[in-house]
């Protein structure tokens, strides 16, 4: 790592840390001066102690593991089916005519409304949660895939005709790569929704170990430090997922001119 890279990381890191540090200071001041009820807003130190205790607790790590596993399953189902459906709806006129209205109707239904039906069909086990996550996250992928596929330009279409490119090659070598930026937006969004739906499913369905159980316990025992800790964990996992996708995107989309790439 060159000295420039280290410098860049330190500068960017410090810039990103300004707001959290400010929030932290205000929080510490608020609790030490008694501006807020200790029951409702614990001190930073209390929360830190909770963090310390939990990190050593194996139960915490298995909960996180369970949540991530659930989310990954739901996400994979949502993204692969979403991509396939999106490419179909975007690329073929008949596909859009047959599948379009149905999909758009489906999409209008709030994800949580599906829970009774899904639990009736899949029981009270893991599959219910995974299916719910997939159902919630799936539209995001479809819509972005459709837009990505439809973004293929007339210029590229003409190029393919002039070079006598087969229909299959046209889809795999022109349409899909051209749709990749939009597909990555879809992946991003699908991941965000998957994580949201995971926490939501755990919280509302209340079965099995998971990250949301920290929130549930905190609420039951009226321990706000646990609740805050739960929020922190959820936020950090979301942040880490986001970072992973951004790195992947930069790798796959390295053909893009620098001005359109996100600055990191």
């Amino acid at each position: 790592m060159s000295i420039r890279t280290v410098h860049r990381i330190v500068v960017r890191g410090s810039r990103g840390a300004v707001l959290p540090l400010a929030v932290l200071s205000i929080w510490a001041l608020a609790t030490s001066h008694g501006w807020a009820n200790r029951e409702v807003l614990p001190t930073p130190v209390t929360v830190l102690r909770t963090i310390g205790n939990s990190l050593g607790d194996a139960w915490f790590w298995t909960s996180v593991g369970h949540s991530l596993a659930r989310m990954s399953a739901g996400f994979l189902i949502a993204s692969t089916t979403g991509l396939l459906l999106g490419v179909l709806l975007g690329a073929s006129r008949w596909g859009a005519r047959l599948g379009g209205p149905g999909f758009h109707a489906f999409r209008q239904v709030a994800p949580f409304a599906w829970i009774p039906l899904i639990s009736a069909w899949f029981g009270t086990g893991e599959s219910t949660k995974v299916v719910f996550i997939a159902v919630a996250a799936f539209p995001a992928m479809v819509i972005n895939a459709i837009e990505g596929v439809q973004a293929v330009t007339r210029q590229h279409r003409e190029l393919a005709r002039v070079l006598e490119i087969s229909r299959w090659r046209f889809i795999t070598r022109v349409v899909v790569p051209g749709a990749m930026p939009q597909i990555f937006t879809g992946i991003h969004l699908t991941l965000v929704v998957s994580w949201l739906a995971t926490v939501g499913a755990e919280y509302f369905l209340q079965i099995g170990p998971g990250v949301a159980s920290i929130l549930i316990e905190g609420r039951a025992l009226v321990r706000m430090d646990l609740v805050l800790f739960g929020i922190l964990v959820i936020g950090l996992v979301g942040f880490a997922l986001n970072l992973t996708v951004r790195h992947l995107e930069a790798l796959v989309l390295r053909w893009r001119p620098p001005s359109t790439q996100e600055s990191r």
Partner: protein, 263 residues
Amino acid sequence: MNIQVVPSAPTIVAAGIGKRFGSNGSEVVALHGLDVTVQPGEFLSIIGGSGCGKSTFLRIIAGLETNDAGSVTIDGAPVRRPGLDRGIMFQDCRLLPWFTVERNLAFALTHVPKDEARARIADAIRLVGLVGFEKAYPHQLSGGMAQRVAIARVLVNRPRVLLLDEPFGALDALTKIQMQEELLRIWESERSTVILVTHDIDEAVYLGDRVAIMSNRPGRIKRFVEVDLPRPRDRTGAPFVSVRKQIFGEFFTVAEAQVEYQI
């Protein structure tokens, strides 16, 4: 340089070409009664102002548009759809941004076995002077370099016909001149039938064996001007300038020097 000579270049005959755009009463007649015969191995420059239909005509020959009247034949066979026998260069070079230079060229060679394709790609890259840039992405290339890749892509299939739609329009004046020289150098070893569409009079005269002057609305060929000059041509020499002047006069009124007589 090892590009093999193309199989014999064909004759292109366009007779009575007509093309309309629009419908429901508001129609634009882009082309009407356009006739031209391009001889085998001839380099024809078509010059005209914006909107005269010259690009439309080229696209009809390429098979990207269909004519409403008349016929286009290549060695007698009517043109129905686009094909690899007619290489076309666009003004926007249309490289696929997600492919490297190499893969962009390979994309044009999907009907050719892999080894042959690799050899042709290497030859073409050498021919256009881009050795060392095989793995570059289009966004890393300058305008001139990107157009060179476009030239290479057109050549790898050794087309009998070359259709150039204002290929250097997006380049700066100096690069443009360089690219014109490149094109000429390549064409002189290939000798395919070429139709170049341009709005640059100098370019038309420098490159073409003949210049077809197109009129606006409806688009048809007003006049042919022979450029009977040996290549390489001197852009600043008197013969060149006199041909240029004939064409210039079709578009602009030439101010004649007034001579005053005194007795």
